[in-house]
């Protein structure tokens, strides 16, 4: 058990170091001199060099990486070229919008995806099952930027029920979170269904049924309890899908979160902000992954000695 935990911790740490190296290398070989982009057209070479020195861009790469790593540990991700403020501050200001969106999407995934999968499994090979799976396949096939635009067209432009961009209150959250949640909800519905079908097939369910337990007790207390654990783990891991989806969803709805921020920062070559968003997202994913694995070992003793 402790050996397993130690190994998982070690791997997580290695992954984070790898993440930081990769991010650093990718962004420092970026063409297009940021100093030149910050200064007005035709600024003298001496001004460019001066700004390079201020931003630390004149040192060798390895030295820049070590400086970078050292400051990351102090929570200092450098100065945003574009906003002229600490990158960490710029990103943190935007995090809460993305968290709102992600939580709303998570609620949809759990509140819609799991019940659809459950219904499809319990009513296996009935119209309920087929309808649920058709919805799920569609949910996995519609690109979220298209879905978002169609929702805007339908509810914003044609019917004018809901606001299509901006960020004040829950009404603004409806369309973006639907857009973001569609794909993972469909995925979780299918996963819940196949997990439930597998458990419902097993001997102890037949025993429970044959000793006369009511159907709902069997399904909820016996089957769902067993089928839900892997599903919950995977729901936790959807954080990666959600962060990826947030990039596009936020761009479609002009949602002021880190997804839109990273796209804007890419276009203005604001390395420190891009770096911060990438590292924060990857670190979040690694930590959630680690936590899910560790929780799993607590819940399911078979893993500990695997």
């Amino acid at each position: 058990m402790s050996q397993y935990v130690a190994r998982r911790l070690w791997h997580a740490a290695l992954t984070l170091v790898g993440v930081s190296i990769l991010v650093f290398v990718v962004l420092r070989v970026m063409p297009g001199d940021p100093a030149k982009m910050l200064l007005p057209e035709g600024a003298p070479q001496s001004a460019v060099e001066e700004l390079d020195r201020q931003l630390g861009l004149h040192r060798p790469l390895a030295a820049q990486y070590l400086i970078f790593l050292h400051s990351v540990f102090r929570g200092d991700f450098g100065q945003s070229f574009q906003y002229r403020a600490p990158a960490a501050r710029v990103v943190l200001d935007r995090v809460s919008a993305t968290i709102d969106l992600t939580i709303a999407a998570m609620l949809l995934i759990i509140g819609v995806g799991v019940p659809i999968g459950l219904m499809a499994a319990v009513r296996h090979r009935t119209p309920y099952d087929y309808a649920g799976m058709v919805v799920a396949v569609l949910g996995q096939s519609l690109p979220n930027f298209w879905l978002g635009i169609m929702l805007i067209l339908l509810f914003g432009v044609t019917m004018r029920w809901l606001p299509t961009s901006g960020f004040e209150g829950w009404r603004y959250l409806v369309l973006p979170s639907l857009t973001l949640a569609a794909y993972p909800t469909a995925f979780i519905a299918r996963l819940t269904r196949s997990g439930m079908l597998e458990v419902l097939d097993q001997d102890f369910i037949r025993t429970a049924r044959s000793k006369g337990l009511p159907g709902t007790t069997t399904v909820l207390r016996h089957a769902l309890k067993n089928a839900i654990i892997p599903v919950l783990t995977v729901i936790g891991l959807q954080i990666g899908t959600l962060l990826s989806g947030a990039v596009i969803t936020e761009s479609v709805f002009a949602w002021p979160g880190i997804g839109k921020l990273i796209v804007d920062a890419i276009f203005s070559r604001d390395f420190p902000v891009v770096q911060t968003v990438l590292i924060l997202s990857a670190a979040t994913f690694v930590l959630v992954n680690l936590l899910a694995d560790l929780l799993y070992t607590l819940v399911d003793p078979r893993i500990r000695y695997g």
Binding site: T15, V19, L22, F145, V157, T241, A246, V247, A282, N289
Partner: protein, 304 residues
């Protein structure tokens, strides 16, 4: 065929040792597995239409015709000259969908092939070499998976530019891990089977065992991964182009067509709707095909 013979005599893992279960006619496949057929038909017809674009439209997808901007599609007041209408620069949308599809589908297919090739080689190498090299490659896989796909892709694209090669490379980078892990796991489990030990005892070298035993026994899961990944790759490529980090205007791509159409939602909704419908159709086809293929090749999962 020594491998094939050995695999039947010495209890090879049955999954995928033969691609199609013997004695099953085409008609039975169609009846038992409608998903596979529908998916294949959808994919084939879209791919064919895009490939035959010059035969299906005489119009140029890039040349602008300012005389007729934002014309409605047929049935909404449009004419046969532009069955899907025209865009904000007067370009024919039908022509742009076909030529744009060529690019989007080719990039997605190229990305799947490159991801599969890289993943299979790294997976084999990792499993075969073991030890430090195995550790290193698997940690690289962890690092890759830690990034939200689109974020890493846009960061790299911003560095290396938006050429086709760059896009294929970035997409493949996001996809190789699945193959590597599958191949490695299969290599490790197959390597210790009796018939492989027998083959080794008879003097078969590492490469021979890989090509005769490991790869044939891994074909089925790899094919399933490949088809469903094609759907993901189409979504990713069009997503990148939508953000302005893929195929650049004026060349058409389903993604950048949608990005341009977004500004005309209130007066010309078809601009964004049509290319999006094309993407959905292809992704739906690939998903159905992938599900059907999995049912066909992995009977344990049938009807799940």
């Amino acid at each position: 065929m020594a491998g094939r013979k050995a695999s039947t005599s010495a209890r090879a893992p049955d999954r995928g040792s033969r691609l199609l279960p013997a004695g099953r006619g085409l008609r039975r496949i169609v009846r038992q597995n409608p998903l596979l057929v529908v998916g294949a038909l959808v994919l084939l017809s879209v791919a064919l239409a895009c490939a035959l674009a010059p035969a299906l439209t005489p119009l140029d997808p890039i040349k602008t015709g300012f005389s007729g901007r934002l014309r409605a599609p047929l049935g909404l007041g449009g004419t046969w000259a532009h069955i899907m209408g025209t865009d904000n620069l007067g370009r024919d949308i039908w022509a742009r969908v076909l030529y744009g599809g060529r690019i989007s589908l080719a990039l997605a297919a190229g990305a799947v092939l490159l991801a599969a090739g890289t993943g299979i080689v790294l997976g084999l190498f990792s499993g075969y070499a073991g030890g430090r090299i195995d550790d290193l490659i698997m940690r690289l896989a962890d690092i890759q998976l830690a990034f939200p796909v689109i974020m890493l892709a846009i960061a790299i694209i911003a560095v290396v530019g938006t050429s086709e090669f760059a896009i294929i490379g970035v997409l493949a980078l996001s996809g190789w891990v699945l193959y590597a892990r599958t191949v490695r796991a299969n290599l490790l489990s197959i390597r210790s089977l009796e018939y492989v030990e027998a083959a080794r005892a008879l003097g078969a070298g590492g490469l021979r065992i890989i090509f005769r035993h490991v790869l044939p026994n891994t074909t089925a899961p790899l094919l399933v991964i490949g088809t469903s990944q094609f759907a993901t790759m189409v979504l990713l490529e069009t997503g990148l182009s939508f953000l302005g980090l893929g195929i650049q205007a004026p060349r058409p791509s389903w993604g950048n067509m949608m990005a341009e159409g977004r500004d005309y939602l209130s007066n010309a909704w078809w601009l964004a709707t049509i290319p999006g419908a094309a993407i959905s159709l292809v992704v739906l086809g690939a998903n159905l095909f992938g599900d059907g293929l999995r049912d066909l090749l992995d009977p344990r999962l049938r009807h799940r």
